[in-house]
Amino acid sequence: MKFLKLFKNSQVFKLALGVAILVVCYFGSKFFSQMQKLTSTLELIAKSNDTQLELEKLLSIINSYDYSLRNYIITNDESYLQNRFLNRGIIEEGIKKLKVLTVNDPLRKKDILTLEKLINYRFKLFRETLIAAKSNNVDQLGLKLKLKRSNDYTEMMKLFVYKVINSERLKAKFQNSNHQFELQDSLMTAFLLIILSLLILLLSFNKTNIDIEALKEANDKLKLLNESFNTAEKTAGFGHWMVNLETNTYTFSDNLYRLMGVEPNAFEPNLENTIKYFHPDDLEYVTKVHRESLINHQSTSIVFRFLTATNEVRYIMGVGSFTKDGNGDLIKIGVNYDITNQYKKTLELEENNKELKYINTELESFNNIVSHDLQEPLRKIQMFISRLEEKEFDVLSQQGRDYFSKVRVAANRMQTLLIDLVNYSRTVKGDKVFVETDLNKMITETLIDLSINVEEKNAVIQIGKLPTIKAIPFQIKQLFINLVSNSLNYSQETQIPKISITSEIITEEEASEYKIINKEDYYKIVVADNGIGFKQEYAEKIFLLFKRLETDPKYSGTGLGLAICSRIVDNHNGFIWAKSQPNEGAKFSIFLPKVDMV
């Protein structure tokens, strides 16, 4: 996110820099054109000055020519005339110069042409005057007239030249003020240029500084990240490596070296140097998978062994996948994970599992022995007892009959015990199939099974409406059989046994006792009787295996019945709770979850 922001910033900055450079270029070119203009203005001023100077010069030559002529006329001295051709040459030259100077000024050019004509005419006048003066009979009046005309013409020429000079002066003055203004303008531009350049320089410097700071910060973070990653790898038993497919260069993480049992960067990272750390049995497979993946660019996932520098075998889970780096080069990144502990634990578990299975089989065969092989001879004993009882009982002595009765009771008791043991082992076994079970049907079947016992005791059974739940049917039936048998067994001799099986609402007290958060989640089935009961302090002991409260032989019991009940309720993720007082009957509450929570 931050990098993105920085990138965006630098984009904005680039744009700003571009604009600034454009502005600088604009001002620069403006400054350049101003400078050029300034130069041309200066040139114009210089030309104007030259023009003026040249004009003055022309005028003075004309004047001096005029004086020379007059001096000659007065003194008749020929020497005054000796420079007259020279002067004419200078004037020609001056005119030529003026023509060059005024080449860009059409108005002035015209002035110069006019001036040239005026000068030519003036020289014509000079010549006529000179001719008039040199003739032998001087026409004094004509000469005077000529001189006067020459004089007037000169004056007129002077006026013209001064007019031109004045106009040149005005022009120069105007150019000068222009020059002043342009100079200021150029100064301003130059100043702005410098300020702007400085600004850009400062901004660039500042930006570079900020960028460097950010880069430094990012670098620091990266370093920290790298460090924590290294630590994480070390702690978690990971190591990673990379290979650039274009350059075929490998990079190994520190912990990858450690996984091979060497110090970080102990050797140059490449496949050849690593080979000796692969377990010899796995080497071919690992290199084959790796090399194939470099060709088909498919992800890899393998388990192999490192034989470390210290000759320790390490089980490694290696996964590799392909990606592209910043330069667009294809690279393979691999992560190697030390699974030695997991592997060993799995082995151990497998071993334990085998043992458990064996024990289970043993238990199964034990169950078979109990349920079939032990019952078989017992049944025979009982059969023979019944045969003897029927046929030979009368011939026995009284004591013999007593002994015989005891044999029969003992055999019957052994049978009950065997049946209970089988039932108990069936509740421990694993095949627990939960199906929709109608408890009403279960209790009906129970009462059919127990009908002889119920009749024998003249018991009154009251059944309420019971729910249908997800349960293991034969276990639920066993539960009811055991609870009802229990109630019948421990009935009071003086009372007709009354047993009720009902569904009840869970009380607050029970909810808190069993940490039931939502009372709606459980069914509560109650089996209550008016039997001999027991002290409440034994309420938990009665569910223990082979734990019997009554030792009086008139109460038959194996000590397994309620233990089976407890197991069955446990199998259904429920609870069973007994409440009783001696001679006040017992109440067994069974809590069964409504939803299958297995």
Binding site: S371, H372, Q375, R379, Q382, M383, S386
Partner: protein, 150 residues
């Protein structure tokens, strides 16, 4: 189907000598006009049944755990042969495991009797089974009524 005037022909296949003795004593004491033939194993039983000129039994009491052909193997062979379609098969075993009950029910036995541990109970069972209206019993047969409870 069964002519009551005819003496009932009953077969018992059981490898246990004592059980065979109890069974024949019980039949004898019941004083019913029955003909009982005993077999000590499944092979003997099947060898007898395939004889062409025998009079087919009315009821066969079949033990499950026997050396050689087991009870369930005999049952399968009998039910695979239409010649024996009128023979009622009563399983007579010490086992009362759900698996045995279910398997024999599926294979077409008519009733399952767990060997009693009292002689008078044995007599009662045999009497009831012999006098049973098989047609009625078989038409309403399900896994619950299949297991004979005394």
């Amino acid at each position: 189907m069964i002519a009551h005037k005819d003496p009932m022909h009953i077969l018992l296949a059981d490898d246990d000598e004592d059980d065979r003795a109890f069974f024949s004593e019980a039949i004898m004491e019941l004083k019913m006009d029955n003909k009982l033939t005993l077999f000590t194993n499944g092979n003997g039983l099947m060898d007898y049944l395939v004889l062409p000129d025998i009079k087919l039994p009315h009821i066969l009491f079949l033990d499950l755990n026997m050396p050689g052909k087991t009870g369930i193997e005999c049952l399968k062979e009998i039910r695979a042969n239409t010649r024996f379609k009128d023979v009622s098969v009563a399983i007579y075993s010490t086992s009362s495991s759900e698996k045995d009950i279910e398997d024999t029910f599926i294979e077409g036995a008519n009733i399952y009797i767990k060997k009693p541990n009292d002689f008078s109970a044995l007599k009662k069972v045999i009497k009831e089974v012999i006098n049973m209206n098989w047609q009625f019993h078989t038409s309403g047969l399900n896994i619950e009524t299949f297991f004979f409870s005394i």
